[in-house]
Amino acid sequence: MGRKITIEPVTRVEGHGKVTIHLDDYGNVTQTRLHIVEFRGFERFVQGRPYWEMPVLVQRLCGICPVSHHLAAAKALDVIVGAGTGEGLTPTAEKMRRLMHYGQIFQSHSLHFFHLASPDMVFGIDGDPATRNIIGLALKNPELAVQGVMMRKFGQEIIRATAGKKIHGTGAIPGGINKHLSIEERDEFLKGADPLNADRMIEWSQAAVNWFKDYHKKNRDFIDNYAVFPSNHLSLVRKDGAMDLYHGVLRAVDPEGNKILHDVDYQDYLDYIDEEVRSWSYMKFPYLKELGKSKGWYTVGPLGRLNTADFIPTPLAQKEFEEYKAYTKGKPNNMSMHMHWARLIEILHSAEMMKELLIDPDIVSGELVTKGEKRNQGVGLIEAPRGTLFHHYEINGKDQVIMANLIVSTTNNNQPMNEAVNYVAKNYMTGQDEITEPMMNAVEVGIRAYDPCLSCATHAFGQMPLEFSLFNSRDELIDFRRRS
């Protein structure tokens, strides 16, 4: 008798996801699907609103990465107000935005690694869910847990200082920024009481990379063989090929490292990228038009970025990048668990970038805003913590938004996450005739590597809240488990 297993988080206001795994009469996995709700309602909601409201309004989307939406919207509106497509801002405006953005990357990556991913590693993916969380980590490795907390706090304070406040920050405005960093704020970040200063953040970031590499040496089979599959990879890169998380051109490479999107202007993204609708999912499936729906899907986020970039423009992260690339002999890395390694290198890069920006005099003085000839539409892209984030707006003669298109990072990773679930399910669930904790953990860990923003669902600590239902081939419920 064929069976269908459903892993379903408790419904969320902002979105929810579930995993269905289909088994045949012999216990073989025949099909897996990851279903996620996305933000289409919001795109309709903003229609008719004045365009200048967007950078603040879009922060209503989500309490997890409001800064990324804030900056992507501001970048799109830079184009609309005639401030250029990334190079036209004043030095102060661009550097303040970059500081805000690297603070966001730093805090978000720190949260994910120390408090979602590292417990899986410290306690094992089949560890007791009751202790496989940050509190359990605090008891077993308090130094690591405290470092994670303070790194997250440092990034949050950077955001507060650059965005103006913690909730609904107003720092980025169309054409620029609305404030400098004060000299007192700058000095506090550079020379503040230990541990909340830039040098300590760099030191701890380096230690986190080293911690992972040590873990990798001892757990090579798990890290290298868990959810491995060939993928294309896409991200922004700087025009010279450097990693750039704030601005650049769009590049994609295939699983062998051949360029398949050649550093194009993202204002033209619709010429290169389309989204497929599948009847069983609310979330669309983006793909590169040239390769088509079945072969054109791609991975974004830390793994994608380290696969597309030629180098990292800060010394410590570049040294780690070279070691990381050497591990795959320069070829793209398609090992899902290496997403964590890539994420940690980005944490180190962000820490270095924050210090570099903090000592730049443009942060505390200089012109704030640029304006030019107004246009009726603009596209803003940014490398959000989870991957490339697209904001596209069109306005009418009354300055009202008449069209909004958002492709969020998790949507870009829709197919890769489905591939990861499929890989894990076939390896861990084939032949199983009952729902077990290790089975659910294995699926979760595969998804979690991508740090998906199922809004709050996956940022619940310890484990995702899940309902687990087992159906027979006639869709009759024959088993049910709930993890809470």
């Binding site: 309602g41 409001p66 408090h115 605090a138 907390v149 303070m150 706090k153 913690k166 619940a460 310890g462």
Partner: protein, 156 residues
């Protein structure tokens, strides 16, 4: 309130989602009142969500009152003591519960404040700023209650 006792009133929620901003609205109203009363030892703050760094933010306080919106049928509001727990918040928009933050504070620093949760009943949760009429009434009632608690220093 005992002299010198440091207190943090800490709200969390997304004011861009209607009544989810109840806690934030309470803090906005409470801040000026605390200043008028000259209560230097009472701080107010708010954020989208509770998160791990809040364990560090509360560790040196004598008492903390978290303020949250509630979708549950609790009357106008509910006030109660928080016990440490690794369980998550059941409400949808938050990353961690007060009980989780308290447990993390203990796990990290081996100390903790007296911790309370003031929940205020909300009704509407769409992409919109401003409270629903019913939530605004509940906010007034909760605000009066909390002012009384702060003035009396009797948290039980």
């Amino acid at each position: 309130m005992p002299a010198g006792k440091s207190i943090l009133i800490y709200a969390y929620g997304n004011p861009g989602r209607q009544d989810d901003g109840l806690g934030n609205a309470l803090v906005e109203a409470l801040g000026p009142w605390i200043a008028e009363q000259g209560m230097d030892q009472v701080e107010v703050d708010s954020n989208f969500q509770l998160n791990i760094e809040d364990a560090d933010n509360i560790k040196d306080k004598d008492a903390v009152v978290f303020v949250d919106a509630s979708i549950e049928d609790i009357g106008q509001f509910h006030f109660g003591r928080v016990e440490p727990s690794e369980g998550r918040s059941e409400f949808t928009l938050h990353s961690a519960s007060p009980a989780y933050i308290l447990a993390l504070c203990i796990g990290l620093y081996n100390r903790h404040p007296e911790t309370y949760l003031l929940q205020i009943r909300g009704y509407e949760w769409e992409f919109q700023e401003g409270l629903s009429p019913g939530a605004a009434e509940n906010l007034d009632a909760a605000l009066d209650f909390l002012k009384g608690k702060i003035e009396s220093g009797d948290w039980n």
